[in-house]
Symmetry: C2
């Protein structure tokens, strides 16, 4: 059940939001798979591939019985912030269909304030007519690793006109999903989001999202770090690719050189937080069994940003990030199921 | 991933099916809830209520972030039989919408042969025009108990014309869901199913589904047991209501009096199998943590019927039934996630 009091608090508050996330609104379709299955389908384990409708249908037809859970990288982060008791907002785009209803229900019920996630009515405006709500086919192998084939559908039409600038301007942190750099209109939307965020003195945070995404947009991401971004998230592999180095210590030097606050995740090895005063290594939270790593990075970002916006130090924020990531990889789906606030309290984090 | 070899075997075989199930095709929408939530929504804990579209929307709006998983009582049983390596068929009705696609994908990918689950195209035939695929809002409390509000949608139109009689005639066991007695056209469809099954010398199995369902159809269910049914499933509460008695031993006497093969489930107390030669008590399979009891009875029936159709004795069939029920209550959703065949082998059951 959603927390009515929490929402009432938000409405009664000063209208400020801790984190506003912008990203592709997606429903995940998760199913177990084997390494052989991935090979047969031509999918690269651990990566996210964008696929057209035909290929999505072909992959789906080969998948086993599945579970549908709302996803979308930045949306998962927004849901995580809200689950921690933070005031979160989200901007994305779904179609006026059943999965669009599911996405809207889930993000609203999570306590996230949505800005113009309002469905695109089918039959209106040219490009949107035949687009269904975006879906991500997630194949989860026995080791808990997830491999994704995403058909963006309606999410691919996110552009500057879809931005709720008033919502963005209310944010303490504006969080951007690197995946959006694959789409020209979304890229324009993100540029505009950054302008609005800067004008409102918000912190701009970026996740580089995926190794292939880093390969596609390396120069632009580096330029963003130089000119526009205050905080960024990458995993080890993404950091190596981004800075064109082979060793983790080299990547850390490069991250330190940016002068930005950064969190570099390393799976079971935990994470390293880079601050103006040096690097801090934070151990991973122990997990009984890794069931499905979908959303690990997204919930890490949720915990880290909630820590920051609640006044925690970066190391404590990284510990909270690890707790959130550990919760989400212990079950199927990329949205939190346990009470994250209680987990944070149990760990002695505000 | 689905098992292509299994399906090929089925096609290459003698065309016989072990179990053909007929029921309401439903997608479950599962979300955690508290006892207070149930009270506020006016839902009776542990029961299934049929709701109209408006009430379904009102309940959904009050639910927290949810997970969508294919369900439907008899469909869960068919999926369970297929997961055990049995040859299963299913007859039900969905709409031509996204949740209909989800239902069809999941049951097919589970290895179940579907007869006329083919979606009702919207815009065709009067009554079906505005009906969406049926959905069951499942509120799961901390104790693992599930409380359900079902909007049948397209499933409510299942009638005699939707039966694939050739599929029914291929069955060794035809399994009927008691829930269908709530609907006049479905009741006619079930009457016809029983005729076809008897003509083909198939065993007719019935689940009485739900205590309220028993209250609504007590006289008819008793008449079915007298005249049409060979095997039946009830839980303890349903058995007491069905035979109008207060004590479990009285219910067992009444079950024995029917002369039918019956399995009466008792939750953590296991189950009692009643045969022509007396009653056998079978202990419940231990479960680390009961997460969600949705589908417990359905998967019990799957294990029991797969045992019977594989030549197991009733007590061994009940043990397999308990193993299947234990698997499905250990996670969210009413379809098996673990490899049931491996679990059966590990327990020394063919």
């Amino acid at each position: 059940m959603h927390d009515d009091e929490q929402r009432a608090d938000d409405r009664a508050g000063d209208g400020r939001l801790d984190v506003v996330a912008v990203g592709s609104a997606i429903v995940d379709v998760l199913s177990p798979a084997t390494d052989d299955d991935l090979e047969r389908l031509g999918l690269v384990k651990g990566s996210m591939a964008l696929v057209d409708l035909e290929r999505a249908a072909a992959v789906y037809a080969q998948m086993g019985p599945a579970t549908e859970v709302s996803g979308g990288s930045a949306a998962n982060t927004a849901a995580g912030v809200a689950a921690l008791g933070g005031r979160a907002g989200y901007i994305g785009k779904v179609a006026a269909d059943e999965l669009g209803d599911v996405f809207l229900h889930d993000i609203t019920a999570a306590g996230v304030v949505t800005g113009r996630v309002a469905p695109v009515a089918p039959g209106v405006a040219g490009a949107d007519v035949d687009l269904a709500t975006g879906r991500c086919l997630v194949l989860v192998t026995d080791d808990g690793e997830r491999t994704m084939a995403t058909h963006l559908g309606a999410a691919s039409t996110l552009g500057p006109d879809d931005l709720d600038e008033e919502l963005i301007a209310r944010a303490q942190v504006v969080y951007l999903e690197g995946y959006l750099w694959d789409l020209a209109p979304a890229k324009r939307a993100l540029r505009r989001t950054i302008e609005v965020a800067h004008a409102a003195d918000a912190t701009v945070a970026l996740s580089v999202s995926d190794p292939f995404c880093v390969q596609r947009h390396r120069a632009e991401f580096l330029e963003l770090l130089r000119a526009d971004v205050d905080v960024f998230f990458a995993n080890e592999e993404e950091a190596l690719l981004l800075f064109g180095v082979d060793r983790f210590d080299e990547a850390l030097f490069a991250v330190e050189d940016t002068g930005l606050l950064a969190a570099i995740t390393r799976g079971a090895k935990g994470s390293v937080v880079v601050t103006a005063s040096g690097s801090l290594t934070v151990a991973a939270e122990p997990v009984d069994r890794v069931v499905d790593t979908t959303g690990a990075g997204d919930l890490y970002a949720a915990g880290f940003l909630h820590g920051l916006t609640s006044g925690c130090e970066p190391d404590e924020s990284a510990r909270l990030a690890g707790i959130c990531a550990a919760e989400v990889i212990s079950h199927i789906g990329a949205r939190p199921q346990a009470d994250l606030r209680r987990l944070a309290e149990a760990a002695g984090i505000a």
